[in-house]
């Protein structure tokens, strides 16, 4: 399996997710990533990206969010870097599962989905950047 990686640069604007999706589709086609895994990775990245765009920055200015995706063997590794305020998604409180419609806590749902869909999610603050690394193994069918 060839080891290829891509680097996607997104602006801090929600509509950038269409470009993200296109880049990931191309990556999946080149690296034989199954459609379901592609969607899971796309969702995990998109949830974290939406979160960064909505809450990550103290100013109204332009920022760049860097996304690196690579396949090595049967593992896809995703790294997301942003220069927003420090935010550790692992410290975010999980919403309560199995709840009635009235009690359903909607905050934190996106990060919860990302954690559940990926096999690993890690965070570190490096200089002025948040660095999130996620890994997803492609299960043999």
């Amino acid at each position: 399996m060839p080891s290829k990686s891509i680097h996607i640069q997104l602006k801090n604007c929600c509509s950038e997710t269409a470009r993200l999706c296109g880049c990931l589709e191309a990556f999946a086609a080149e690296n034989a990533v199954p459609p379901k895994v592609l969607k899971q990775i796309n969702l995990a990245i998109e949830e974290l990206f939406d979160n960064i765009v909505s809450y990550g920055f103290n100013d109204q200015g332009d920022h760049r969010i860097d996304i690196f995706v690579a396949r090595r063997g049967d593992t896809i590794t995703v790294r997301i870097e942003d220069d927003g305020r420090p935010f550790d998604p692992l410290a975010a409180k999980a919403p309560e599962r199995s709840c009635s419609v009235e009690k359903c806590q909607i905050g934190g749902l996106g990060i919860y989905l990302a954690k559940k869909l990926m096999d690993l999610l890690s965070y570190r603050r490096k200089g002025n950047k948040n660095v999130v690394v996620m890994k997803k193994r492609i299960a043999a069918d």
């Binding site: 999706c21 379901k36 419609v101 359903c104 909607i106 919860y112």
Partner: protein, 110 residues
């Protein structure tokens, strides 16, 4: 994404085509709430052509279910592909949103 609205046997039907994410959810929310404001209280959401959903889409469905509950209405979702269904299950939304296999079952249940 394309949102096709239809009225079938007294049910307000939404057919979702494509991706329900943070870009498309506001439009879906607007359309659902306009329908409820206009008196629709039995909703069927046909997910047969829904490829992808994020927490933004789930949020709209949660708000809709809450609103319909106070109005004694009903919302039923149907025909989800495996991947979309998995997202609903992980989020725990299958515990309070009725999800059935076929459109016919949804029409019966709504």
């Amino acid at each position: 994404m394309e949102i096709i609205e239809d009225n079938v046997q007294g049910r307000h039907v939404f057919r979702l085509v494509g991706r329900l994410d943070s870009n498309t959810s506001p439009d879906f929310e607007k359309k659902v709430f306009a329908a409820i404001d206009a008196g629709a209280d039995r909703l069927v959401v046909d997910c047969e052509k829904l490829d992808y959903i994020t927490s933004a889409g789930l949020r709209v469905l949660n708000k809709t279910a809450k609103r319909l509950k106070t109005a004694n209405g009903a919302i039923v979702l149907c025909a989800m592909e495996d991947y979309v269904r998995e997202v609903f299950e992980i989020a725990g939304f299958d515990t309070f949103l009725p999800i059935v296999a076929t459109f016919a079952q949804a029409m019966e249940k709504a």
